[in-house]
Structure formats: structure tokens, C-alpha cells
């Protein structure tokens, strides 16, 4: 019984994703592409959210880890014929090392807020230039995944369906990780670090170690997304997977959906990606980058009118209306105690 209760929290994500697994029955190819895009960004934003949302350390450089994942698997496949199913883990291992190093270097010297953001953006920009000048990595032209038709062993498919299920499964794992954090010691410690570092430290939280661990976990997950990204688009370029454009997009969905919430990044991606894609498809020829303008607009709107994101807003609405009976009960209980 106790075991059942422990795992009940995972029921909602499992049901939601099980239902999502039936989506391909209703979606045409183009919409499948949008669904996959949604899941890619939901996955990456959920990974970013562990560091940015839960631990409150706003990294603007997650392109670094995405790039490492994308390049590692692609390079190993091209050069050594290594399957991306293994390459993905190699990329994650490299990202873990990079994540540890960035975390240690930044947090050891107490970098916070804007300063941490600046360091991370500088590092991912530096990576763009390093890779652009790295011959083995294809330089500025990037690397193309060798076309093999449908080859499950090499994570390549002509149909979108398998890609959909792979990224759906990855996103499920990411959401389950976030859900797991929500009610575990490590998750609580991340929140303590975000809310008040000094108090957290005084209450036995190793804040430096906690932040580094969060950075490593987030980096590792992001790298796996990078490998999938490379396999799906069959191309990696320095600016495409590294750099500030992708780094900013990653966190956009988390901020708009709701920082530090399990569902925020997914909700943000579900709402924003289709809108941006339609804008790109409809306006892209006349106004290039119209979808980026849209991202900017939505971000400003969110910051102004719902700083806690969509899920945050929903939560506070529910708290206002749902909690009323609770509140009145606790008031009457304390009054009863006083009289």
C-alpha cells in the first residue's frame, strides 16, 4: 500500500503521455512535425527547468550541452559508425563533465543571477567559435548525418512516427524526473537554494554541491535532447545547436509555461510552438524571423501579466478559489483554540 502511494504521483504523467501516444492516429505528416517540435522544446525546457526553475540559476548557455550531445553522437556515427543509441550516452557523459566544470567554476566563486547568466552565454558563444574552427567537426559548415533511409539501429527513419515515439518517451522521462524531484530531498534542496541560499546553507544544505549537481543533471538531460535533434534534422551546425539563439529558446518555454513547475515547460511549448510555426509558415517568406518577434512579444506579455507563467497562474487561481474552505477551517480552528 505504502509503495502504491509513493508512486501515485507518477500516475498523471503516465496517463497524459499514454493518451498522447494515440495522437499520430489523428495527425497528418505536417502536424506530426509540429508535434515532434513541441516535444523537442518541451523536453529541452523541462531539462533546463531543473536548474533554472527549481534551483533558480538562470543559465543562458544550455546550447553548450545541447551542442555537445548533438556533435558527440553525430561525429562518432560519421567517424566510427557508432550507433547514436550509444552516442547519446557518450554525449551525456561529455555534457556531465562540461556541466560539472561550468557549475564549479561559476558557483565556486559565488556567481549569481545576471552574472551567472552572462558567464554561461559567454561559454556557449565561445563553443560556437571553437567548433566553427574545428576541422574534424566540420567547421562552420557543420556535420551532416549520413542518410541511410530507415535504419532503426542508427536511429534513422523515413517516417516521422518513430521519431515521435522516441521524443515522446524522452519527454515522459524528463517530466517524471521533474515530478520525482517535486517530492524528494534533492528537489526540496534545489528550491531552498533558489529561495534563500544563506538560510539553506544554515539548515545543512550544501548549496555549492546542490547547484553543481543541478547543473550536471540539467546538462546531461539537455545533451540527450541534442542527439535527438541531430538525428531528426540530420544536420548539426555550430549556430544551430550551440549559441545563444537556441539557448534562449530553451528557457522561453519554461518561463512562459511556469518556472519550477512540472508541467510548465511542456505547457509553454504546446502553446507557443504551433503559434510560432504557423507564423513562420504564413509570414516567413515576407518577414523572416517573424516567429522570433512573436516569441519576444509573448515573453514580454508573460513577464508583465503572469510572471509565474501559465501553470503558475493556474495554480494561484486554484489556490484562491480552491483553498477557501481550508482557510476558513484553519481560521475557525485557531479561534476555537483561543476562546
Amino acid at each position: 500500500m505504502k509503495q502504491m502511494k509513493q508512486y501515485r504521483e507518477f500516475l498523471v504523467p503516465l496517463v497524459v503521455f499514454a493518451l498522447a501516444a494515440f495522437l499520430p492516429l489523428f495527425l497528418k505528416t505536417y502536424y506530426m512535425h509540429i508535434a515532434i517540435l513541441i516535444l523537442i522544446w518541451a523536453y529541452l525546457a523541462t531539462s533546463w527547468n531543473i536548474l533554472g526553475g527549481y534551483a533558480g540559476q538562470h543559465s543562458l548557455g544550455h546550447g553548450l550541452y545541447m551542442g555537445i550531445g548533438a556533435y558527440a553522437s553525430t561525429y562518432l556515427a560519421l567517424e566510427f559508425g557508432l550507433t547514436p543509441w550509444v552516442g547519446i550516452f557518450v554525449g551525456m557523459a561529455f555534457a556531465a563533465i562540461a556541466g560539472w566544470f561550468v557549475g564549479y567554476a561559476a558557483f565556486r566563486y559565488g556567481l549569481k543571477g545576471a552574472y551567472f547568466a552572462l558567464v554561461t552565454i559567454a561559454l556557449t558563444e565561445a563553443a560556437v567559435y571553437v567548433v566553427s574552427n574545428w576541422k574534424a567537426m566540420g567547421g562552420a559548415a557543420g556535420l551532416e548525418v549520413k542518410y541511410l533511409g530507415t535504419d532503426p539501429f542508427m536511429m534513422q527513419f523515413d517516417s516521422k512516427l518513430p521519431y515521435f515515439y522516441i521524443i515522446l518517451f524522452m519527454t515522459l522521462l524528463a517530466v517524471l524526473t521533474a515530478q520525482w524531484l517535486n517530492r524528494r530531498r534533492f528537489g526540496y534542496r534545489l528550491i531552498a537554494v533558489r529561495e534563500n541560499e544563506e538560510a539553506a546553507e544554515a539548515m545543512g544544505v550544501n548549496t555549492l554541491g546542490t547547484k553543481i549537481n543541478a547543473n550536471v543533471l540539467s546538462a546531461v538531460m539537455t545533451a540527450a535532447g541534442g542527439t535527438f535533434f541531430a538525428q531528426y534534422f540530420t544536420y548539426v551546425g555550430p549556430r544551430v545547436v550551440f549559441g545563444e539563439v537556441v539557448s534562449v529558446q530553451i528557457l522561453l518555454f519554461a518561463i512562459i509555461g511556469g518556472l519550477g513547475t512540472v508541467w510548465g515547460p511542456l505547457v509553454g511549448a504546446v502553446i507557443l510552438v504551433p503559434v510560432a510555426e504557423i507564423a513562420r509558415a504564413e509570414l516567413g517568406t515576407q518577414f523572416q524571423g517573424a516567429h522570433l518577434l512573436l516569441y519576444g512579444g509573448v515573453l514580454v506579455f508573460t513577464m508583465l501579466f503572469m510572471p509565474n507563467g501559465i501553470v503558475g497562474l493556474a495554480k494561484s487561481i486554484r489556490a484562491r478559489f480552491g483553498k477557501t474552505p481550508d482557510d476558513t477551517m484553519s481560521v475557525s480552528a485557531s479561534e476555537g483554540g483561543a476562546s
Binding site: 526540496y188 531552498a192 544563506e198 544554515a202 539548515m203 544544505v205 484553519s330 485557531s334
Partner: protein, 242 residues
């Protein structure tokens, strides 16, 4: 018997200013020791040094017989020395229960055990009915109780209380004093920094008086209140205020 906390020649220099100079005192198990002194006497710096928030320039701190000089805050907390803050430091976006759970996680790995411990602590500090209220929505009195609760949840051997009575009404102060005395009678040791004289004189078994970073007197409240050096440095001035 070795004292629970033993401070020897503790010194902290900021640039040219000696905030704490050559401070030596000890705290035995089961005691309530008061640390007093006029503004700027070095009380808070002393707390920061003991709790690991700052590293001393020289001198040593022994806790439970072990040299802990220069340990970090979270390490001191794990060893059993926890501090509260003069200005309350709640986690605003999580509930009172979760605030306390963060502390309970020091000794309990599982969420269930930490939650049980946290509920027990909320009950002890008298805000069990506020368990589900967010940190930001608590009143000052509740926050003061929460602050003690957060410390208690780490199950310390020695709890450092920094100005726990500041900003409270006399009735609320009495409530807090009753709480501290009860915890002490159950075996908890306290080191208390306090500005409110009534609190320190009522509560402490022993008092250490600081001025300009150095100890100028030590003794029971009765002795301290008659000590000419103390009256000169501190109590004499305070009479106008009180």
C-alpha cells in the same frame, strides 16, 4: 567533561577593524548562555564565525571535542550546531511545513520521515495550524516561530538564537521565552544573542559580555547586572532607553 562548545582566542579582523578580538568562552551541555554587548560589539560576527558563515582570522572553535574551526555552515549544521537569523529568513514560496522540512532533511533522507519530523516541530513551536501557509503569508510572530522551528528541525545539540525577541510585543516575547525554556528543560542547549535585557536576564544561566569585540565580563545574570565594567559599557547607557 569537555564543554559542548569551546571558543579559544577567536579573532576576526576586517581590514583594520577587529570585529572580534581574542574571544574565549565555552558553553556546557544543557545551558542557556547569553551573549550581550552594545551595538557593534561583535555579537553577530561571533555568531557568523561559530556557525561557519565566516572564517576566523585566528583562534579556534571546538564543538563536541572536535576542532571545527573554518567549517562551512552546512557542515556545522550536520555536526549539530544550527543558527537562526536576526532578520527572519523564510523560504517565501513554499509552505511553513516545507520550510521546516528543509531542515528535517539533514537527518532524514525520505520525504515521509522529514514531513513527520517537520509536523512534530511545527507543533512544538505552535504554528501547526499554519502548516499549509506560504512563507510569505506568515506574520512576524509566526515567522519568528518558524525560524526557531527551522533550526529545531535540524535536530541540533546547540541552537544559536540571534535576536529572537526583536520586533515582538511583550506578550509575544513571553511566549517565545516559555518555548525556549521548555526546549531547554528537554535537553536543548542554547547560545542566545539578544538586545532586549529582560529576555537575556530572565533566560540565561550564564552571560558573556562583549564590547569592541572582546569579552569584558562573564557570570550569572545577577553578577553581570552588578558588574561595574558592564554597567559602564552597556547597562548604564541602556537605562535611558528603557
Amino acid at each position: 567533561m569537555t564543554p559542548l562548545l569551546e571558543v579559544k582566542n577567536l579573532t576576526k579582523v576586517f581590514g583594520g577593524l577587529t570585529a572580534v578580538g581574542d574571544l574565549t568562552f565555552h558553553v556546557d551541555r544543557g545551558e542557556i548562555v547569553g551573549l550581550i554587548g552594545p551595538n557593534g560589539a561583535g555579537k553577530t560576527t561571533c555568531f557568523n564565525l561559530l556557525a561557519g558563515a565566516m572564517t576566523p582570522t585566528s583562534g579556534s572553535v571546538h564543538f563536541k571535542g572536535e576542532d571545527v574551526t573554518g567549517r562551512k555552515s552546512h557542515q556545522m549544521c550536520k555536526l549539530g550546531l544550527t543558527r537562526t537569523f536576526q532578520v527572519v529568513q523564510p523560504f517565501p514560496d513554499i509552505t511553513a511545513l516545507e520550510n521546516v522540512m528543509i531542515g528535517a532533511f539533514v537527518r532524514h533522507g525520505s520525504t515521509g520521515a522529514a514531513e513527520r519530523k517537520a509536523r512534530e516541530v511545527l507543533d512544538v513551536v505552535g504554528i501547526a495550524h499554519k502548516a499549509d501557509t506560504l512563507g510569505r503569508d506568515l506574520t512576524l510572530m509566526e515567522l519568528k516561530r518558524l525560524e526557531i522551528g527551522k533550526g529545531l528541525a535540524t535536530e541540533p545539540d546547540l541552537l544559536l538564537l540571534d535576536e529572537v525577541a526583536a520586533g515582538l510585543t511583550p506578550v509575544e516575547i513571553d511566549d517565545i521565552l516559555t518555548l525556549v525554556r521548555r526546549l531547554n528543560s528537554e535537553g536543548m542547549t542554547f547560545l542566545v544573542v539578544e538586545h532586549v535585557m529582560k529576555v537575556i536576564m530572565n533566560l540565561s544561566h550564564r552571560i558573556v559580555v562583549l564590547n569592541f569585540g572582546s569579552q569584558i565580563a562573564e557570570g550569572t545574570p545577577a553578577e553581570i547586572s552588578k558588574n561595574p565594567a558592564v554597567l559602564d559599557a552597556y547597562l548604564g547607557e541602556e537605562e535611558y532607553v528603557a
